[in-house]
């Protein structure tokens, strides 16, 4: 899941740019957001939070961050928009095909030795990668004994994910990804086109649990053989990364696998040494102690 910033990459107004006052205002806003509704972005990577906030300031036609806080606290719709800013999602099916290929080669054989399989897709966004995993498991004959728990902080994206509907124009790209990821069937077997949209076939939805879960504040809710959390860490500061890695560590069985995004790493994190890398540079890790 990538969160992108719309067209909001504008520089903040010079008057309030980058000084201690701006920092204070941002802290107050995030604190207020947390106290008011429990969403905790206080440990998100500062520079991206700052960009997103300024983007929202301009769009809401307020002049200061404190002005935005005022509006957020009194206008539920505005609150929702700001939270959505922090959670705009971009994802695709079989994104980073090499990762899925490696998964098929290295992880699937191990999964065969478990009577049942639990996979947690944390930060699943609109579900493209979740369905990719479902297809992969189906092709490997493991889907029937698997449960995929797909979670995201945003309830809205989960609605989309659950529906399993994707834009038609994306499917060509996804098909190429699927083939590169080592797909063994026909990609077109897994969807049908309805009214200009693509619907994932229901048998692939059956073993997926979509639920809201906040990595920052919520806790472990099961024990998993695989956890995928791709392109989420990059938005967290180090403290939050450590905390979330602890959550994942505690939620993984011994020798369970953890998949991250291609720009993320466990190196330098305190629990990093409890994992070993599977396949050099592919950001697939295995809990080994």
């Amino acid at each position: 899941m990538d969160r992108h910033y719309g067209n909001g990459d504008r520089k903040p107004a010079a008057a309030s740019g980058g000084g201690p006052l701006e920092r204070l205002e941002i802290e107050l806003l995030l604190q207020g957001l947390y106290a008011w509704c429990g969403y905790d972005f206080r440990n998100y990577s500062y520079s991206s939070v700052r960009r997103r906030i300024w983007n929202r300031v301009h769009r809401e036609n307020v002049s200061t961050i404190t002005g935005l806080l005022d509006k957020v606290l009194h206008d539920p719709a505005c609150l929702k928009r700001l939270i959505a800013d922090f959670s705009i999602h971009v994802t695709e099916m079989f994104r980073d095909p090499e990762f899925f290929r490696l998964f098929r080669e290295e992880v699937v054989p191990v999964l065969r030795t478990y009577p049942s399989i639990r996979i947690w897709h944390a930060g699943c966004s609109t579900g493209e990668e979740v369905y990719s995993m479902a297809i992969l498991l189906h092709e490997e004959g493991l889907y029937e004994r698997a449960k995929i728990y797909a979670t995201d902080i945003s309830a809205d994206v989960l609605v989309t994910a659950k529906a399993g509907m994707f834009p038609l124009e994306k499917m060509r790209k996804y098909t190429v990804n699927y083939q590169r990821a080592g797909g063994t069937g026909e990609f077109s077997n897994y969807y049908q086109v309805e009214n200009g949209r693509v619907r994932i076939k229901p048998f692939l939805v059956r073993n997926i649990v979509f639920a809201q879960h906040n990595l920052v504040t919520d806790r472990s809710f099961n024990e998993f053989h695989v956890i995928l959390c791709r392109n989420v860490f990059i938005y967290f500061n180090r403290e939050l990364q450590e905390r979330v890695l602890r959550l994942f560590y505690d939620s993984l069985v011994m020798f369970g696998h953890l998949g991250l995004g291609d720009k993320e790493t466990l190196e330098y994190l305190p629990l990093g040494d409890r994992f070993e890398e599977v396949g050099k540079g592919r950001k697939l890790y295995r809990k080994i102690r």
């Binding site: 049942s116 879960h213 806790r219 472990s220």
Partner: protein, 637 residues
């Protein structure tokens, strides 16, 4: 693994010797004496450990025989050199003779033959106070008629009473309890010697008369491979001859006669050995034969393999774990033993549930690799039988099966099985890894000892889940279901004596429907509630929970409801339950991993009576349940 054991022991030995030297002159005589005792006890312990490791290695089939030509005249010289000084010191006559007609060479493992001779001669010297000790090398034949060398170790020592002559070869069984205290040694030398003799295809016997002396006879011929094992195995009734050479003799004796097996196993794990098998003090009361002890083990005073600290190459060791393989397929059993043989465990393999049960009744095992399809029973039944008898408490079970399991079966197994492995290409690798992880964990656990136990208890009290960055104690790092469940038992109120079910008598007999797909939680919560005498009914998801509710005539007294579940989540399930007027007042407690206010509100909106955060704090849970089961409310129902 002896390394880990020897290192601390060695520092103990060195430091106690330094202390005893009293170089600064600031210790009292008494203190110096204490330091000496520490040093002596440490040395004895080291000798014992060495012998135990040796015996364990041989019994588990890990002794490798390295045959080569052995010149008997050279053996004679070796013995002469090694024991002449001791003979002089004890003022005993000592003679080594090679009889005419004795073979010049035999093909066998020279080091092992020497080890046996050293053991036998050390014993002879130890128990002989006057007269002579002799070694005669002679010609003889094996049972199958092949030529052999005969070594006779003759002494004029205290001798062995007839009724004890067989027992002296059994580990930790000396003629009477005073022997090892009086004569030193570990008492394992003869057991080791006999095992070695059998491995080499030979035998050891004894003739003795009390007060007159003993003659030990060691017959060994040209080594003809481990085939002797098979002959031995197939000669025993009711045991399928195993084609795999790796089958240790312990497996054989174990399946044929569990009770005697217990004795030989006793030698392998001092930590787990029942006192009556180990401690000399526990032997039956003294009688006339008391003063006629039989030979014990090698004495540290003589050059005897395994008895002298540092005499053996630094290996590895702490308490050796014992592993039981239960599989009815010969071939499978063999390949499992081959697979696991490289680990530092003592392996016993049996082919039926009955044998496994018999063994586990009389002896402690640390872990078990269990196939589900057995000739006489199923793995399920065996596990349940073991559980009923309380034999699973400290037994780590690794189910290794070719069967597919449905979720019910898996759940049933996971109640007691730590790990379930479905046979597939990567299954052997995983089994090995899981066993290794278990052994490492056990070793780490032994190190940290009681402290870790306590920590695990605390950790489990909070469900051992990701309690945020600030938690994450030992138990959670161990991350093992078994550890969690065990720890939950310890950590939960009731076992520490501070709270028992007497504190909340109103809970006893009440039933709780627990709907949760997180097995860690299911076991932790079931353990806690059962400790209070509550009955726990379990469902894996909301749909199943509803089915159970509908089928129950009396309904449960309370429902514990997880929120994030497959098929039908907690919110929906609660709404469904409330839709039925029968359950309007049924207390439903939501278990939620979520911290946000709106999540909690959602639980209440759906119709939950209350909520509690996962991981569940046992005290809080019990208090909460008491509130919601308060008679007042119940009367209204």
């Amino acid at each position: 693994m002896s390394h880990e054991l020897r290192t601390p022991l060695n520092s103990m030995l060195i430091l106690s010797r330094l202390l005893a030297a009293n170089s600064e002159g600031n210790l009292t005589d008494k203190q110096v004496e204490f330091a000496r005792t520490i040093h002596q006890s440490g040395s004895d312990l080291l000798a014992l450990i060495n012998d135990i490791l040796d015996l364990a290695k041989i019994e588990s089939g890990n002794m490798e025989v390295e045959p080569g030509p052995v010149v008997l005249a050279e053996l004679a010289e070796f013995v002469e050199r090694a024991f002449r000084p001791l003979a002089a010191e004890k003022r005993l006559d000592f003679e080594v003779t090679v009889r005419e007609g004795a073979p010049e060479t035999i093909v066998t493992d020279e080091i092992r033959v020497k080890q046996v001779l050293k053991n036998l001669l050390s014993n002879a010297f130890k128990f002989t106070h006057e007269g002579r000790v002799a070694l005669e090398i002679d010609a003889g034949t094996l049972e199958d008629g092949r030529r052999a060398a005969v070594f006779r170790v003759i002494d004029t020592g205290i001798g062995i009473a007839k009724e004890h002559q067989e027992h002296i070869f059994e580990a930790f069984k000396q003629a009477d309890g005073t022997t090892s205290r009086k004569y030193g040694g570990t008492g394992l030398g003869l057991s080791i010697s006999r095992e070695i003799a059998e491995r080499l295809g030979g035998r050891i016997g004894v003739e003795s008369e009390e007060g007159k002396g003993s003659t030990f006879t060691f017959v060994v011929g040209d080594y003809s491979g481990p085939a002797a094992d098979d002959a031995f195995a197939s000669a025993l009734p009711g045991l399928p001859a195993d084609p795999v050479p790796a089958v240790p003799s312990s497996a054989v004796s174990a399946s044929a006669a569990p009770s005697s097996a217990a004795l030989s196993f006793a030698a392998l794990s001092p930590g787990a050995t029942p006192p009556d098998a180990v401690s000399p003090d526990a032997t039956p009361p003294a009688d006339a034969s008391l003063d006629a002890p039989s030979p014990g083990g090698p004495s540290p005073a003589v050059p005897s393999s395994g008895a002298v600290p540092g005499a053996r190459p630094p290996g590895a060791d702490e308490r050796i774990k014992k592993l039981l393989i239960v599989d009815d397929d010969d071939r499978q059993r063999g390949s499992l033993m081959e697979l696991i043989g490289g680990l530092d465990v003592v392996i016993t393999a049996v082919s039926s549930g009955a044998e496994a049960l018999e063994l586990l009744k009389v002896d402690h095992y640390d872990c078990m690799v269990l196939d589900l399809g057995l000739g006489d029973t199923t793995g399920f039944e065996l596990m349940e039988e073991l559980k009923e008898r309380g034999l699973l408490d400290r037994l780590r079970v690794f189910v290794y099966t070719g069967r597919e399991l449905d979720s019910r079966e898996e759940m049933r197994l996971r109640k007691s099985a730590h790990t379930i492995i479905i046979k597939d290409e990567r299954a052997p690798e995983r089994l090995l890894e899981e066993l290794r992880a278990y052994l490492a964990e056990a070793a780490a656990g032994a190190e940290t000892g009681a402290a870790a136990g306590a920590a695990a208890g605390t950790e489990a009290a909070t469900g051992s889940e990701a309690g945020g960055a600030d938690s994450g104690g030992a138990a959670s790092r161990r991350g093992e279901r078994g550890a969690r469940a065990d720890a939950a038992k310890e950590g939960a109120p009731g076992t520490d004596g501070s709270r028992t079910d007497a504190d909340a008598p109103q809970l006893a007999g009440k039933s709780v429907l627990l709907i949760d797909d997180d097995v860690r939680n299911v076991f932790a919560i079931s353990n806690i509630l059962e400790m209070y005498g509550m009955q726990v009914i379990y469902a894996e998801n909301g749909m199943e929970g509803l089915d159970i509710l509908r089928s129950m005539e009396d309904g449960p007294h309370l429902v514990l409801m997880d929120i994030m579940m497959p098929v039908m989540d907690g919110y929906e399930t609660i709404r469904e339950i409330r839709a039925n007027p029968r359950f309007r007042d049924l207390p439903i407690i939501a278990l939620t991993a979520k911290a946000m206010k709106e999540d909690r509100e959602k639980c209440l909106e759906a119709g939950a009576s209350d909520y509690i955060a996962k991981p569940v704090d046992p005290d809080q849970l019990i208090s909460l349940i008491q509130v919601w089961l308060c008679p007042d409310r119940e009367n209204r129902r």
